[in-house]
């Protein structure tokens, strides 16, 4: 049980950041990219809300570094805009700047 206690007392924080995207493929990419960032424990994004919920260890990472990693794979995150190059590498259905969700 000691193990769980150590998790509980770590600097666990929860925050929502805005991430732009379209579809379930975007969702997979955004969440997996977030989870690959060291210190992120939980990530959940929905197309409807355009929000990514993060639970992370504040000692190891920050929403800013997660946003950077997500922007690097083509999704505008928080205040960081993805480069044209990263954006254009997305599959056609994920091109949120041109394809409308509705």
């Amino acid at each position: 049980m000691l193990f769980f206690v150590t998790i509980a007392v770590a600097q666990t924080q929860k925050e929502n950041i805005e991430v732009r995207g379209n579809c379930n493929m975007c969702k997979m990419r955004i969440e997996k990219t977030a989870l690959k960032t060291k210190g992120v424990k939980y990530a959940n994004w929905t197309a409807e809300s355009q929000q990514l919920t993060l639970i992370y260890n504040a000692k190891k990472t920050s929403p800013k570094s997660v946003a950077k990693n997500i922007a690097a794979v083509g999704h505008d995150a928080d205040s960081i805009v993805a480069t044209e190059e990263a954006y254009n590498a997305l599959p056609a259905c994920c091109l949120y700047r041109t394809v409308s969700r509705h």
């Binding site: 769980f4 998790i7 666990t12 929860k14 379209n22 579809c23 379930n24 997996k32 989870l35 690959k36 992120v40 424990k41 939980y42 990530a43 959940n44 929905t46 197309a47 409807e48 809300s49 929000q51 919920t53 639970i55 259905c93 409308s100 969700r101 509705h102």
Partner: protein, 742 residues
């Protein structure tokens, strides 16, 4: 959004194997009567932030929290629709173009693709959904597998009408049955337990081939079958089902539910069946199916508080069942304990109580804790001619599980404790036997959900058992997706062990005059050792598109190798011997299946299975008797377009069973009996969303085994034997029924 994810975690907590409680469905567009999947349609809950879009197949899946009541489906250029009901089953939505004034109605229907092979989990799981369960002619769990090629249904004996199911070439004692993840049908419940769960109570069934989850126990050897029952919160307010078959079986099912508040709901399930008609289609003077009566009642209570993260279930079940078997002229009051006519009676009374609770911290959705507790009692009083067998069996089960993550949600784990006590008190012939088993186990299961198509579940448990001692059970499941997720390879390996309840599991031999031989007459366990086995397997799923139709090609190869087994040897006429395996025993199965849909209306399934099932008997290594080496399966399902709640549904299933080996009798040596085909069909007319009528036929080709009971003319003689059954006794069987719900 968090709440909808919370709900997902509750489901994991309660052990639902997949997203059963997700709302899912398909969105189509329709133009000139041609339907095509609508990609990218918005599907969301009104007044919430929870939503999704349909994928390339028009498919969507979305979690539902209690406050989500109105589902909105919209797509530019089409009429937006709102749905408020029918979320318990996959939804089929056809959006109508906004500009077409002639067609301004929206069709919503249940999607009937009800048999699904899991694609994303490392375990090889197929799910039988509620739509598929409707295709089973009748009536209880043992008959729910006839449209699924992963499970084979065998005939147990010529007296009780009991059916025995089989997976990967091994019969039911080697399959772990769980009901909502609580082990069920264990010990003395084994032989008839499947017929004690009415089919209409079942919401879905998950079949796991190969080693099961360590969290469910160490007893699964060839696989695991989990049945989820209908949940009070999602049940219809009222459901009535009536059924009548030409062999005299009448069934009535009544189900009602009541919402006590938005968090509390309760359901009452009542099932009764009766067969009073004497039938003897094979003219051997014996009843083809027993005279029987059953009353079965289940009360369920469900509580969910999504905001605080609590969920709970409580269930109480009571059953009384009686069967009369034997000669047509047998009347218990006149002929019991005499040798004028052969007959028998089996009276069973059971009750069970179980409780499940779970908690998820709403702020930390990846952590949960769950506790399950179950108590059951089973009492059977029976005699078969001059042989009696009584058993009283009590079972206690407690299960505590904690789930969380390592570093992030790609690495999940489960850790827990399980405690089981089984108390047996049996009387076989004139001998009293008591047996107590106690087990305390601890398990750990790690689940890796990789980013590059690789998933793994690695688990182990350590058990301390009063008879088997301390032992470790490891199990591994690996999955890898290739070629853009068009191919999936799964590999599994694991150990299992169990203590055979030899009398309960082999009751069918009481319907013979075979003499019983045990290694030693004394307790405990008459010198029989616990059964131990390893199961290995691999499965390949290939999705291909051929002439614009999607095909699933599935290859499953599994092998179970016994380290020790209680060999049931009835090779010698007039004898039944139990002894420990001395040599080899294995069951190997290869299954090749193809599933496709010709269009949105017609589903097709084909399967071929080949088995190699051998055991070393005292007389040598032999194929296990009454096991077909080859089996073929074909299924065609059709449903018409649903209009104003009206629909036609039809399906036809063909099972071809290859030749089987019969053991020697006093008059004939061991030989092979030729194969046969079982053809069944069902037709359903749904008159409205509330009312439907169905009729069907089983064994349309009228296959009958004429020598089902050997020496039926001299039932008290040494050659009498009702256990050599390999085919139906009854022949063609017609039935009809109705379903009504509010």
């Amino acid at each position: 959004m968090l709440k909808s994810y919370l709900l997902l975690f509750y489901l994991c907590l309660l052990g639902a194997v997949n997203a059963q409680h997700q709302v899912s469905g398909y969105v189509y567009s329709q133009e000139n009567s041609i339907q095509s999947p609508l990609v990218g349609a918005s599907v969301y809950w009104e007044n919430s932030t929870s939503g999704t879009v349909s994928n390339d197949d028009g498919y969507f899946s979305l979690a539902q929290s209690p406050e989500n009541t109105v589902l909105v489906i919209s797509y530019l250029g089409f009429k937006t629709i709102k749905l408020t009901a029918g979320f318990d089953k996959p939804i089929e939505v056809i959006l109508i173009s906004d500009t077409s004034a002639a067609l301004n109605e929206v069709t919503v229907s249940q999607r009937r693709k009800a048999l699904q092979r899991a694609f994303f989990t490392p375990k090889n799981i197929s799910t039988i959904g509620s739509a598929e369960l409707l295709k089973a002619a009748c009536c209880n769990l043992s008959e729910s597998f006839e449209t699924n090629p992963s499970i084979d249904v065998n005939f147990s004996d010529a007296l009780t009408g009991n059916k025995q199911i089989q997976m990967l070439g091994l019969t039911s004692p080697y399959i772990l049955f769980t009901q909502e993840n609580i082990p069920n049908l264990r010990g003395s419940n084994q032989a008839f337990g499947l017929s004690f769960t009415p089919g209409t109570w079942v919401e879905s069934i998950q079949i796991t081939k190969g080693a099961g989850a360590v969290s469910s126990g160490y007893e699964s050897i060839s696989g695991q079958i989990n049945a989820e029952l209908i949940k009070p919160l999602t049940a219809p307010p009222l459901f009535v089902n009536g059924y009548r078959s030409a062999n005299g079986r009448t069934e009535i099912n009544l189900q009602g539910k009541y919402d006590l508040s938005s968090k509390w709901a309760t359901s009452l399930f009542v099932h009764a069946n009766k067969r009073a008609q004497l039938t003897d289609n094979n003219n051997d003077g014996f009843l083809d199916a027993p005279l029987s009566e059953q009353l079965n009642v289940l009360s369920r209570w469900q509580y969910i508080d999504a905001e605080k993260g609590w969920v709970a279930f409580a269930s109480f079940k009571a059953l009384t069942d009686s069967k009369q078997i034997g000669e047509l002229a047998y009347v218990p009051d006149l002929h019991k304990s005499k040798s004028q006519y052969w007959g028998g009676e089996l009276d069973t009374d059971t009750w069970e109580f179980n409780l499940k609770t779970g908690y998820v911290d709403p702020e930390i959705p990846y952590r949960s804790i769950g506790f399950q507790s179950a108590i059951s009692h089973h009492k059977q009083v029976a005699y078969f001619g001059n042989k009696n067998y009584n058993v009283s069996y009590s079972s206690f089960f407690h299960h505590l599980v904690y789930q969380s993550i390592l570093s992030n949600t790609l690495h999940k784990f489960k850790i827990g404790l399980q405690h089981m006590v089984d108390v047996y008190d049996e009387t076989i012939l004139t001998t009293d036997i008591t047996r107590n088993e106690t087990n305390l186990g601890a398990f750990f299961e790690y689940n890796y959900d990789g980013t590059a198509g690789f998933n793994a579940i690695i688990g182990a448990r350590v058990d301390y058992h009063n008879v088997m001692g301390t032992f470790v059970t490891p199990r591994v499941h690996l999955r890898h997706a290739f070629f853009d997720d068009k191919s999936v390879l799964r590999i599994s390996a694991g150990a299992g062990r169990r203590i055979a309840s030899i009398f309960a599991e082999n009751q069918k031999f009481l319907g013979s005059q075979r003499k019983l031989f045990l290694p030693q007459p004394t307790q405990p366990m008459y010198g029989l050792l616990p059964e131990r086995a390893w199961n290995y397997g691999l499965s390949w799923i290939q999705k291909v598109t051929f002439v614009d139709r999607p095909f699933d090609l599935i290859l499953d190869v599994y092998r179970t190798q016994f380290v020790n087994r209680v060999v049931v040897d009835w090779e010698t006429p007039g004898a039944i011997s139990f002894y420990n395996l001395d040599g080899k025993s294995h069951a190997q199965s290869i299954q090749l299946s193809v599933n496709t849909s010709l269009n949105a209306r017609i589903d097709l399934r084909f399967a071929y299975k080949t088995f190699d099932i051998k055991t070393e008997y005292r007389s040598g290594l032999k194929r296990v008797p009454l096991q077909a080496e080859n089996r073929w399966f074909a299924f065609v399902g059709y449903n018409s377009v649903l209009e104003d709640g009206k629909q036609w549904r039809a399906d036809v299933t063909l099972h071809r069973v290859g030749k089987q080996r019969q053991v020697a009798s006093f008059t004939t040596p061991s030989n092979f009996v030729s194969g046969f085909s079982l053809l069944s069909m069902q037709l359903t007319r749904q008159f409205s969303n509330q009312f439907s009528v169905y009729a069907g036929a089983e064994n349309l080709l009228d296959v009958k085994q004429t020598d089902a009971i050997l020496s039926s003319e001299d039932p008290f003689g040494a050659a009498f034997d009702s256990s050599q059954l390999y085919a139906p006794v009854f022949g063609r069987m017609l039935y009809a029924g109705f379903r009504f719900n509010l």
